[in-house]
Symmetry: C3
Subunit: 338 residues, 3 copies
C-alpha cells in the first residue's frame, strides 16, 4: 500500500514541505532509504545522515526542516508520528478467523467467530475470548480466563486461571501470566510451607508483554497491570505488584512482590525493585539500578557503576575500602584495622 505525502499530512495533521504527490510505501533508515521510503530524524546527531538521504520523505521537527534535501513531514514529535505512519504502511495482518483443526477448545469456552486460534492451542473450560483476537500456536488458556477484543497472543503464551486481559493487549511468545507467586512460610527447621496463591491477574487495555516474561498471580488479592503498560522480554512481575498506567519496563528487570509503581514511570533494563515499596508517578529508574526503598518524588534515580578496566577497578575497590574505613572513623572494618 502506498500513500501520497498529502494524504499523510492530512490524516495525521502535520505540515508538509515538498511535493504533495510523492508516494511512499515503506519505512527505512535515513542512510538506506530509497525514494519510495519514509524515514525520520529524531536524534539531532544524525543530521549528517539527513543531508545525504535519498528518502521519499523524512519526518522531522521544524528546526531540522531546513537541512532536509527531500520532502519533509514536520511535527513536534517525529518519533511518534513516524510510528503512526509506519503502522499504516506496515499493518499487522488481521487475524484469520477460524480454529485450527489441531486446536483444543473446551465446549463451554466462548470464542467469538472472528477469533483466530492457532495449531496446538488449548482454550480451557469457561474461557472467554473477545472479537478479532489471535490465540497463536501453542498457547495455553486456562479455565475461566477472560481475553478482551483485539488482543494478540503471538504464540506459546500461557494464561493461567484467574487471568483477565483487556483489549488490544499484545503478548509475545513464552510469556507466562498467572503462575503462583513465590510465597512460603518458614518453619523452625527451615522447611517451607507453601502459601496458596489464590489471587488473579488483571491486565488493562493496550498492554504489551515481552517474550518469556512472567507475571505472577496475587497471593490473595490480584496482581494489577493498568492500561498502556509496556513490559520488555524476561521481565518478572511478582505477586500483588501494581503497575500504573503507561509505565514501561525494559528487559531483565524484576519487580518484587506487593510493590506499587505509579503511572508513566520508565524503568530501565536489568533493574531490581524490592518488595513492599512504593514508587510514585513519573519516576525514571536508570538501567541496572537497585531500588531498595520507596521513591516519593518524581525524577530520575540511579545506582549503577559502569565498567572500568579491571586493574583500575581493583584499585578503585581497594581505595574505596580504605576510604570507607577512614570515613567511618576506622571502626569495625576488618577488625578495626583502620
Amino acid at each position: 500500500m502506498s500513500f501520497a505525502l498529502a494524504e499523510l499530512a492530512v490524516r495525521f495533521g502535520c505540515a508538509l514541505r515538498g511535493d504533495p504527490q510523492r508516494r511512499v510505501d515503506h519505512v527505512a533508515p535515513l542512510a538506506a532509504a530509497d525514494p519510495t521510503a519514509l524515514s525520520f530524524l529524531a536524534n539531532p546527531r544524525l543530521t549528517r545522515e539527513l543531508a545525504g538521504t535519498r528518502a521519499g520523505a523524512v519526518v522531522l521537527e521544524a528546526a531540522q526542516a531546513g537541512h532536509c534535501p527531500v520532502p519533509a513531514l514536520i511535527t513536534d514529535n517525529p518519533h511518534a508520528l513516524f510510528a503512526r505512519i509506519a503502522a499504516l504502511l506496515h499493518p499487522t495482518a488481521p487475524p484469520s478467523a477460524g480454529i485450527h483443526p489441531s486446536a483444543s477448545v473446551a465446549p463451554d469456552a466462548s470464542v467469538e467467530a472472528s477469533v483466530e486460534v492457532g495449531a496446538f492451542a488449548l482454550i480451557g473450560s469457561g474461557a472467554r475470548i473477545g472479537a478479532r483476537c489471535l490465540v497463536g500456536p501453542g498457547c495455553v488458556i486456562g479455565a475461566g480466563v477472560q481475553v478482551g477484543a483485539d488482543t494478540r497472543l503471538v504464540a506459546r503464551v500461557t494464561l493461567l486461571p484467574g487471568v483477565r486481559l483487556g483489549e488490544r493487549v499484545l503478548i509475545h511468545p513464552g510469556a507466562v501470566i498467572g503462575a503462583d507467586g513465590f510465597g512460603f512460610a518458614r518453619e523452625g527447621g527451615g522447611e517451607w510451607v507453601k502459601v496458596p496463591q489464590i489471587g488473579g491477574v488483571r491486565i488493562g487495555d493496550d498492554v504489551e508483554i515481552g517474550a518469556n516474561s512472567t507475571v505472577d498471580r496475587g497471593a490473595i488479592e490480584d496482581t494489577v497491570i493498568e492500561s498502556g503498560v509496556k513490559l520488555d522480554n524476561l521481565v518478572q512481575i511478582g505477586h500483588n505488584v501494581h503497575l500504573g498506567a503507561h509505565t514501561a519496563i525494559a528487559g531483565c528487570t524484576g519487580i518484587s512482590g506487593s510493590t506499587r509503581i505509579g503511572a508513566r514511570c520508565m524503568v530501565g533494563g536489568g533493574v531490581g525493585v524490592a518488595g513492599h515499596i512504593q514508587i510514585c508517578d513519573d519516576v525514571v529508574i536508570a538501567g541496572r539500578t537497585t531500588v531498595s526503598g520507596s521513591i516519593r518524588e518524581p525524577g530520575t534515580y540511579a545506582s549503577l557503576w559502569s565498567a572500568e578496566p579491571i586493574a583500575r577497578w581493583k584499585r578503585i575497590v581497594a581505595g574505596l575500602k580504605l576510604a570507607a574505613r577512614r570515613g567511618s572513623g576506622g571502626r569495625g572494618e576488618r577488625g578495626g584495622a583502620g
Copy 2:
C-alpha cells in the same frame, strides 16, 4: 468447604480465643475480610488493620491476641499456620486421571493410571510418571525421564533426558530442566568447541521451580537440587550446581556452574553467584548482591547500592573516584593524577 474454628484448633494444635463454632471458608487480608474469612497478622505494623478487621478469625501470636476484635487462632508462627489452613480451605484440585486424546505417550513409557496428561503433552520412550502426577498441557517429557508421585508440571514444562524428579515437586510453566550446560573449550583463534553435556539433573522431593526458570544438566556428573528447595521465576541454575535442602532462591537470580550452596540458604532476587565456589549452610544473600567468592560463615551478606537521585548519584561516583585515588595513594588511577 467450611471449618469451625474448634476443628482448626484441634487439627493444627493451636490455641483458640473466641467462639469455637464460628466457621470460615476462605482466606482474605485483614482489611477486606468478612465474617466467613480467615485472616492473619504476621507483620506487627499491621496492628491498626487488626483493630478494624471484620474477619471470622485471625491467626496471630499470643502477644497480639489482646488487640484482636474477633476470634483468634494463636500460634508461635502465624505465617506457617495460616499457610496450612489456607491450603485446607483452598485445596489444589487433584489430577483428573486420564490422558487427553491429543497427547502423545510413547508405548513403552510407564504412566500410572491416576496420572493426568494434558493436551499436546509428549511423554517420551521409557519415561516413568508416578501416581497422581499432573503432566499439564504442552509439557515435553524426554526419553527415560523419571517423575515421582504427586508431582505437578503445570503446563509447557520441558524435562530433557537425564532428569529425575522426586515426589510432590511443583514446576510452573515454561521451566526447562536438563538443557545443556554452557560448556565450551576455546581454540587459539577464539573459536569454541562444545564440551558434550552428558550429566543429568537430580531433583529431590517437595521442590518448587518457577515459571521460565532453567536448570542445566551436568557436564559429566549431575546437577543436584535437594529436597525442599524453592526456586522463583526466571532463575538460572548452571551445570553441576548443588543446592542444599530447603534453600530458597528468588527471581531473576543466576547461579553459575559447579557452585555448591548449602542447606537452608535464602538467596534474594537478582543475585548473581560466581561459578566453582562454596556457600555454607544458613547463609542469607540480600537481593541484587554479587557473590564472587566462597562464603564459609553463616550470616547475611550484601553488596547492593540502592538508587539515589541521579544528580546526587553522579556526585557520589565523582567523589568516590577521588576518594579511591586518595585511598590508593594516588597511584595509577587515571595516569596517577591523584
Copy 3:
C-alpha cells in the same frame, strides 16, 4: 563405541604416553574415572586428583605428564582436545528422519526428507528447513523462516517470521527468536505509540542459544548474530544488536538495542550492556558488570562489588557516602552537610 588411545592420538594429532592399545569408551572426572574412562586435567589445582586417578587415560599438557600415573594424551590445549574426544565418545543422536503424525507442516513449506519433525511442531507457510535438521517437539516455525542444514531446535523453540538461521545452529528449549523489539514513541501525555518492528534476525553458522533466551527482531534493519556465537540461558538480545563472530555471553545477561559487540568477546553472567554503544573485538566483561558506554580497547572490564557481611557492608556504604562528600568538596550531597 570404544577407541584405542593410538587411534585417538592419530585422529587428533596429539602425543601419547603409555599403552597405545588401551581402550576408552566414555569420559569421567579424574576422581570418578575407571580404566575405561577418559579424563582430563585443565586446572593445575587438580594435580592431586591426577595422582590418584584410575582413568584409562588423561588428556593434559606436557608439563603435567610426569605426574600422571596412567596413560596420557598430551596437547597444548587439553580442554579443547578433551571436548573433541568427548564428542566422539558421546555422539549426539542423528535426527530420525520423518514428520511426527501430530506435527503441522504447511503444504508449501520446504522440509528436506532427512529432517526430523517432532510432535506438535508447527512449520509455517514458505518456511525452508535444511537437510538433517531437528525441529523438536512443540517448536513453532513462522512463515518464511529459513533454517540451514544440520541445525537442531531441541524443543519448544519459537522462530518468528523474518528469522534466518545458518548451519549447525543449536537452540535450546523455550528460546524465542524474532519477537518484536521494545520500540515505542512517547506522546506528551505519557502514552506509548508502538513502532512497528519490521526487521528480521540473521544468525550465522555454529551458533548456540540457551534455554529461554530471547533475540528480538530488528526495528527496521536486522538483528545480527555472527557465526560461532554462544549464548547461555535467559540471555536477552535487543533489536538491532550485532554480535561478532565467536563472542560468548553467559546467562542472565541483557544486551540493549542497537549495541554492537565485536568478535571473540566474552561477556560474563548477569551483565547489562546499554543500548546504542560499541564494544570492540576481544573484550572480556566480568560477570555482573554494567557497561554504560562504548569500549574501544581490548581487555578485561569490571564493575562488580562482591558480597560482604551485611554489617560491614553497611559501614562501607556509610563510610563511602562520607568519603564521597569529602571527595566532592562537600558540595550538594545531603544539602551540603560535608
